[in-house]
Amino acid sequence: MFSHDPWVWIAAIMTLAIFSFLYKENWFYRIAEHLFVGMSAGYAMARAWNNALVPNLFNPLFADFGRNWPLLIPALIGLLYIFRFVPKFSHLILIPIAVGLGLGSGLSIAPTIQTDIIKQMQSAIADASNVSAGGWGLAWGILSFIGVLTTLSYFFFSREHKGALKVSASIGIWFLMVGFGASFGNTVMGRVSLLIGRVQFLLTDWIHVIR
């Protein structure tokens, strides 16, 4: 009835060990937790080596050094992180951090303005002015437009929420909460399916109750 595969047994026992936390913190959970943390930290190192360094740095360098030598520049910048272990030169790690921050900001500012601002503005105006949608279609568009404006006003920090701003911000928070409620329900459904998947593993692969 039970699986003869030792790996399935290990996976099932670890699953039950993690589930035991629902009762209370116990040594069974503690073993699983420490194994999980330790193994995943080791796995992350192996993954960084095999998925990042080897294909993106070593392979191109060894394959065609003449063409790919500029890869040495980010590699050297990255190596500066090692100075964290040399207190005298530990300030050098600020260089790779600064490069990473600068690159990250530069790469994200324009796409953020494009997608999170301009595209959203276009959609809001398109929905609120879609007269051809008529009746309910236009009404939903206008409601959504009001939601955008009032929610924006809630996140205005330069004035106290008084008078008209207070009314607008209060309406905005209602829109936010309705949105969060919908998101909550949607995500809970997803989480339940994850639980079903795990229980299915125990019943199908481990104790073969479901075939």
Partner: protein, 393 residues
């Protein structure tokens, strides 16, 4: 003898049956002739990095007779030889050849209507067309204008803050709880747990979280309350450690800094979550801070913290995780409130100036929205104009 006679009869019958002519085999159906696609035009793909030519044509009017799609053929001279470089199903009248061998060289194209039961019919060659790369993507001018405008507003407010101009920021409800939460941990003699999110240091929410960590660390140093900061990202860990150490030094308590208080757990999302859960269950912190960007682990963390009886303050700009923090935490900084909190607590001109710039940019967006919607409602032509102005290819 009878067997031989029977075999002879069978042979005779077989030969006779073979000699009788059967019904004439139907001649293979002639493939239908369809009108070819027309008005083929080829030209450089605009706003791209080169090596791409865009084609447009008018589909065959006889598509209903069995045209399944169009083959795109390319040659280096009008006479050929042509080679197939693409295929689009029927109903489409455009194709981008993104595998042009070289920029600046002439190429000719033909488009052929094909289908199982039709004779291929192709339009006359179009060309020559040359691909080239553009330095400037004109389709994204609106994004450039937006970026420049926002940058100018940011510079203006940062300069104002640096010159000492008073920039008002309203108090955020969740912030009042920070001091109360640290005080509670001190009274109970229990540690404060601070999770700086799951994202790397390049994430804006992680930077805001680290800023708040600095302020929390100062208060922890002041009250001599133990601080526990587990990290998922090695770089965030490095920065967090430096921030906490500096906060203790600033308060004049560098000796009170515990080297084990800021540590790296694991890179794995759920590995980190189970580790933090274990810490919460064993060490029972009086106060939990979840600041930064979180994913599916948000509810697991916040629920465990709530079960241990800790006061919990969360702050994230992860829209999908906010509902979980709102339900399971005592205070939640929503979206931009996280950045505002970071600026409010930090009191640095750079942060306050940026926050003010964000505020006025939002006001500008609101005004543009109202003006744009009013224009768009004035007539279909104006609506198209406004939407085109905001379109991004």
């Amino acid at each position: 003898m009878r067997t031989i006679a029977l075999a002879g009869l069978v042979l005779l019958w077989t030969a006779w049956a073979a000699a009788i002519p059967g019904p004439a085999a139907a001649p293979p159906p002639q493939p239908a002739t369809v009108a070819p696609p027309s008005d083929l035009a080829a030209g450089d793909t605009p706003n791209d990095a080169g090596q791409s030519i865009s084609l447009t044509w008018r589909p065959s009017p006889d598509e209903a007779l069995g045209v399944e799609g169009y083959e795109i053929l390319r040659a280096e001279s009008a006479e050929g030889p042509y080679a197939k470089v693409g295929y689009v199903p029927s109903g489409f009248g455009s194709f981008d050849d993104q595998a042009v061998p070289r920029d600046g060289r002439d190429f000719f194209y033909r488009v052929r209507a094909v289908g199982a039961g039709i004779a291929p019919s192709e339009v006359a060659a179009a060309g020559p067309a040359r691909s080239s790369q553009q330095w400037y993507n004109a389709a994204r001018t609106n994004a450039l204008v937006g970026t420049l405008l926002f940058t100018l507003i940011v510079i203006y407010f940062i300069q104002g803050a640096r010159r000492g101009r008073h920039l008002f920021i309203r108090r955020i409800a969740g912030l009042a709880a920070v001091e109360e939460a640290v005080g509670r941990a001190t009274e109970m003699g229990k540690p404060i747990l601070f999770c700086p999110g799951m994202d790397p240091v390049t994430s804006i929410s992680t930077l805001a979280a680290l800023n708040i960590l600095g302020q929390v660390a100062k208060k922890a140093a002041e009250y001599d309350t133990p601080l526990v900061v587990p990290n998922r990202d090695p770089i965030v860990y490095t920065v967090a450690e430096a921030i906490v150490k500096e906060a203790y030094a600033e308060i004049g308590r560098p000796d009170a800094y515990n080297h084990d208080s800021v540590f790296y757990l694991t890179d794995s999302q759920m590995g980190y979550t189970s580790g933090v859960n274990g810490i919460m269950a064993r060490e029972r912190p009086a106060t939990n801070f979840f600041m930064g960007y979180f994913y599916a682990e948000s509810l697991v963390l916040a629920e465990t913290g709530a079960a241990t009886g800790a006061i919990q303050i969360a702050g994230t700009d992860s829209i999908t995780q906010l509902p979980f923090f709102i339900t399971a935490c005592d205070y939640t900084l929503m979206g931009e409130e996280l950045y505002a909190a970071s600026a409010y607590l930090g009191k640095q001109p750079m942060l306050i100036g940026t926050l003010k710039a964000q505020d006025w940019s939002k006001a500008l967006v609101g005004l543009l929205l109202v003006a744009g919607a009013a224009l768009a409602l004035s007539g279909p032509g104006l609506r198209q104009f406004v939407l085109r102005l905001l379109s991004i290819d």
